[in-house]
Amino acid sequence: MSMKEKLQKIREEALERIQSSDGLEQLNDVRVAYLGKKGQLTAVLKGMKDVAAEERPAVGQLVNDTRAHIEDFLEETKARMEQILQEERLREEVIDVTLPAAKMETGHRHPNTIALEEVQRIFIGMGYEVVEGPEVEYDLYNFTNLNIPEDHPAKDEQDTFYISKDIVLRTQTSPVQARVMEQGKLPIRMIAPGRVFRSDEVDATHSPSFHQIEGLVVDKNITFADLKGTLEGFARQLFGPETETKFRPHHFPFTEPSAEVDVSCFKCKGSGCRFCKGSGWIEILGCGMVHPHVLEMCGIDPEEYTGFAFGVGLERIALLKYEIDDMRLLYENDVRFLRQF
């Protein structure tokens, strides 16, 4: 048999075996049987020394062609088989995507904090600095410097916890105003969130400890119109762009003129519901122009500077916004409650 015939035969046999091989393993056996170190084609190559020198290039070419042919077919078949296998595997690997998720067990933020962060975000955006003050506070800052002298009825109204004659648990975050003004760095734009205390028994709407957010702006040419604009913007950011605000005259010892602010009920949009007790409005904060006497006591010239201040009850916002019906839930720390935020 000529070399040529021999190669022809190897090729046909090889292709035949590739064709009929069943799986990647058999295919590999074919590769080894023909192209491996001890394979048939390799053996032919070893027999080249017996071929006449002038025929060698031609035969060599033929061997290479045959090899390439077999290799190509092998690769092609392998790729096809692999694709079939993969398709099979994918079919087998179908899962039920509606099975429950593997829950990432992360914790939950307290609703007070969520509400506070919202309020902070709004005021930081308007250039306000967030400052803090002591919770155990001098009577001087909590009352006297805020225009609430000894014997003022407001001292009784606020049901103060006393530590000593001169030291109280702060009944409001307003003393932070006095502290910041006293430092004399003007202009001031600040909010002061924090814990405050009043001797109210615990019930669904009262707690002896709760949180307020105080706001203060002192600069030249600050007006009541600025106060209105600022708080209107705040209310719209917090409760939605449709929110209306209503300023009602009120009295606080440390502001003049003073106001209480109602927002249109975000639940019923003002038509009256359980949340707004049918009035369409919800009271959310107290505010006013800083009393000139307060500015003076804190070392700021009221002829040159004016300012406004406001105070928001954080729990009030949280309870309203998240529809929490009992204040006690905020301090029980039951995870079934906390996990809802």
Binding site: T106, G107, H108, R109, H110, Q120, F123, I124, G125, M126, G127, Y128, E129, V130, P134, E135, V136, E137, Y138, D151, P153, D156, F161, Y162, I163, S164, I167, P187, R189, R195, S199, P208, S209, V217, D219, K220, T223, F224, A225, D226, K228, G229, T230, K246, R248, P249, H250, H251, P253, P257, M289, H291, T306, L330, Y331, E332, N333, V335, L338, R339
Partner: protein, 806 residues
């Protein structure tokens, strides 16, 4: 403070407004209406009827059949069981289809009860005769009504007339929230003045005429005020030949609408004037006043006195007493004495209208535990100039109502007359403060409406003494603003120098704490700042423990809320216990809150308020889980060095063998551990629980957000495992510090991958295996580098008594 609409209309006759309209407008001009009640809300189709004929019911002993003239062509037939009616009586009748407010038991039915014609025991009955209770009121307010039965009118009312109107039930009661600065609005006259100004109507206050005979009150009574500080003014007038009797209906209606029960003409007049002028008055039986002398003085310490209500009360030196020549007859501004009480036998009455120091009255009322309507008014600090108007008004009413003969003159002790306050009128400053452009004339118009008069010659606004809230330009600005309308002031934003919005570094660190705790599965709790001193025993703190030195609240809500916490763990343990009780599984909580550490007790200066980041958990996880959270926090807060954990027994509420103090760069910054089983049990946490407390002020010095990129390793690492048999008392921390120290610069990482104590290991030892990763930044490590370092490490470990395993 309440008023009826009809009473307001007595002084603002042109007022024509709905209840809602009144409520809204008054609130917007600064007199906040909390709510209102229309007395006739559920009364419909009720007229005056007259009983023409009464017959017995044929089939019922207790019923009668009445023919009632209701002003229509034909009388209506009404069957009733009422025992008190007779022919000729004029009575309120609700006609067929009308409504009444409730049953005659006094129970009010929301929405009212509709009355329809029907049959009663077979006899037609059209409509119903009404008791005062069915009309939504009570005998308290209508004392002339019978105890049980139909209300019977006086004879002069017109048949067919509107019964609701005749009874004065066509009225609205408003409830106001008056702010403490507007003392003048604790009176009907004060509110009426505001109403007139709000609606632009004429204000017609009562015209007080000086009445009295030719005699002089000074011949009847002498007044000495010993403490002018506490009693700036004392007015006394006398009425003789007093004739007690009921007061007129109109006065009774006014009082009833304000929730005051009519009693007799004398009492009703003092109450009426108190409501009308906001000035409490007191009436003494002059015959009980010894020596015809009133002395206003401080009580003696421990002085006993029996008040009108029959209670014996003990005074102290700060309580002001009204005395006669011999003995006390009343507690000033709070309550009169039993000994000078008006009785039915009274002949001559002494009226007192005084002004007392508000703060003193408030404190006295608190001290003797007696708050009355009068003290409630006095404690706000009344206008002394109002006292005279009130006492004259009372005398005028006494005379007008024929209740007695008024003696001329008034005894008036008024050392220092209060003068009106004057404030410079600066319209441009008012506009600058409000951000408005209101003309001077318009401002003056607003001010004038509430009796703030402009004095051209001085350029000042003169505030009458009843406006105790007007002191400066800002006060005038508020008056202008509220009548201009807060809603009309434009909305602008502050201009001027830009400022940077930001949170402080401490707040950022707290934010990191929240983020880390939450992504580690802990939810945020909040606990009270005050707790019970019993907590210390519960936490097993020894007697001498400095943490027991807590700040006490002088007036706590109770023992359980009486000290400011010095530790945050009680709140956390209580919260864990709450969850455990409620069968919540796998609970992790954190809290960011202050503890309050006094520098000295009793407190002279403010305490050290230290923010604590407290974590607590039970269920899934153990000590090392907690440790992982703490480390995660340190890392995210920019504390990249390895914290050192020292085994501790310092915290008695933690397991003595499972607690550690955490040090960072040699400073104690936190501690953690398993809750002591005895403590867990006492809180009712029935499983292992863990706590960690990070002292935020302590970490602030180490925390930071200054990151630096160090490149990604380019040369290969070499990993070597060290397997060893370690004496039991050698801590992983010791081994790690030897490896870290000896590994030097090329030590990249070390990690424990196996720890075992058991039978295969000899007694007193444990088996541990570490994987050590070495890498140089600038080259591929050669075998000799590696073996040199490993040799150093192994040598060091042997120094700890560790045996290396092959």
């Amino acid at each position: 403070m309440n008023t009826s609409l009809s009473w307001i209309k007595m002084y603002v006759p042109d007022l024509d407004v709905t209840a809602q309209g009144y409520s809204d407008a008054m609130t917007l001009s600064g007199t906040k209406v909390e709510g209102y009640q229309r007395l006739d809300a559920d009364l419909e189709n009720i007229v005056v009827g007259q009983i023409k004929k009464i017959e017995k019911h044929p089939d019922a002993d207790k019923l009668i059949v009445c023919q009632v003239d209701v002003g229509q062509e034909q009388p209506v037939q009404i069957v009733t069981g009422a025992p008190n009616v007779k022919e000729g009586d004029k009575i309120p009748v609700v006609l067929d289809g009308g409504r009444v407010a409730g049953g005659h038991d006094g129970k009010v039915t929301p929405g009212g009860i509709k009355i329809k014609k029907g049959k009663l025991r077979g006899v037609d009955s059209s409509g119903m005769m009404c008791s005062i209770e069915e009309l939504g009121s009570s005998r308290e307010m209508y004392p002339e009504a019978p105890e049980y039965g139909i209300y019977i009118f006086e004879d002069d009312v017109p048949v067919g007339g509107d019964a609701v109107k005749i009874l004065g039930l066509d009225d609205v009661i408003f409830e106001y929230e008056i702010t403490s600065n507007r003392v003048d609005c604790y009176s009907v006259v004060g509110i009426a003045r505001e109403a007139a100004a709000t609606f632009g109507k004429e204000f017609k206050p009562p015209v007080v005429k000086a009445v009295g005979n030719q005699e002089d009150a000074a011949d009847y009574i002498r007044v000495t005020v010993e403490d002018e500080q506490l009693c700036p003014r004392y007015c006394a007038r006398v009425v003789k030949n007093v004739k007690l009797g009921p007061s007129p209906k109109w006065m009774q209606r006014c009082l009833a609408a304000n929730g005051i029960r009519p009693i007799n003409n004398l009492v009703d007049i003092t109450n009426y004037v108190m409501e009308e002028y906001g000035q409490p008055m007191h009436a003494y039986d002059l015959d009980t006043i010894e020596d015809a002398h009133i002395v206003v003085r401080r009580a003696e310490q421990g002085e006993e006195f029996v008040t009108l209500d029959g209670q014996t009360r003990i005074m102290d030196e700060d309580v002001l007493m009204i005395c006669d020549g011999r003995k006390p007859v009343g507690v000033a501004g709070i309550m009169g004495g039993e000994n000078s009480m008006i009785t039915d036998q009274v002949k001559t009455v002494l009226f007192e209208a005084a002004c007392f120091d508000g703060a003193n009255i408030r404190k006295s009322a608190k001290r003797i535990g007696l708050r009355t309507d009068a003290s409630g008014k006095f404690e706000k600090g009344l206008d002394p100039n109002n006292a005279q108007a009130a006492i004259d008004r009372a005398c005028q009413l006494m005379e007008e109502l024929g209740a007695g003969e008024v003696v001329g003159g008034m005894v008036d002790v008024y050392a220092q007359k209060r003068e009106p306050v004057r404030v410079r009128f600066e319209p441009e400053k008012i506009n600058a403060l409000l951000g408005t452009d209101i003309s001077k004339e318009e401002m003056l118009k607003f001010l004038d409406k509430v009796a703030l008069r402009y004095e051209e010659s001085t350029g000042e606004i003169v505030a009458p003494t009843f406006r105790q809230d007007i002191h400066c330009m800002a006060d005038l600005a508020e008056e202008v603003a509220r009548f201009y309308g807060y809603d009309k002031i434009s909305t602008t934003l502050p201009t001027g120098e830009a400022t940077t919005g930001r949170i402080s570094f401490k707040q950022r660190i707290e934010q990191v704490a929240r983020d880390v705790a939450e992504y580690c599965g802990f939810s945020q709790g909040m606990c009270y700042s005050f707790e019970s001193p019993k907590v210390f025993d519960r936490l097993r703190l020894p007697e001498e423990c400095p943490k027991r030195r807590a700040i006490r609240i002088l007036n706590p809500l109770g023992e359980d809320f009486s000290i400011m916490r010095t530790l945050s763990v009680n709140g956390m343990l209580t919260s864990l216990a709450t969850n455990h009780n409620r069968r919540n599984k796998n609970v992790g909580l954190y809290e960011l809150g202050n503890v309050y550490l006094p520098k000295e007790l009793p407190l002279q200066e403010l305490p050290d308020e230290r923010m604590q980041f407290t974590l607590g958990m039970y269920g899934k996880g153990d000590f090392y889980t907690m440790k992982g959270v703490v480390e995660e926090f340190f890392e995210k807060a920019g504390m990249r060095k390895k914290p050192v954990y020292e085994p501790s027994t310092l915290y008695p509420y933690l397991h003595p063998g499972r607690q550690a103090v955490v040090c960072y760069e040699g400073k104690e910054v936190a501690y953690l551990g398993e809750v002591h089983p005895a403590v867990a049990a006492s809180y009712g946490i029935g499983e292992r629980a863990y706590l960690a407390v990070v002292d935020i002020p302590s970490v602030l010095g180490f925390a930071g957000f200054d990151y630096k990129y160090e490149g990604i390793a380019r040369y290969p690492a070499v990993t070597r495992d060290i397997s060893m048999v370690v004496p039991k008392d050698v801590l992983a921390g010791q081994i790690e510090s030897v490896i870290a120290q000896r590994g030097g610069k090329i030590l990249e990482d070390l990690s424990l991958f196996d720890i075992y104590e058991g039978k295969q290991i000899k007694a007193g030892y444990k088996s541990m295996a570490y994987s050590v990763t070495l890498r140089a930044k600038d080259r591929t490590l050669e075998e000799k580098d590696v073996s040199a370092v490993m040799k150093k490490i192994l040598h060091g470990l042997e120094g700890l008594g560790i045996e290396l395993r092959s």
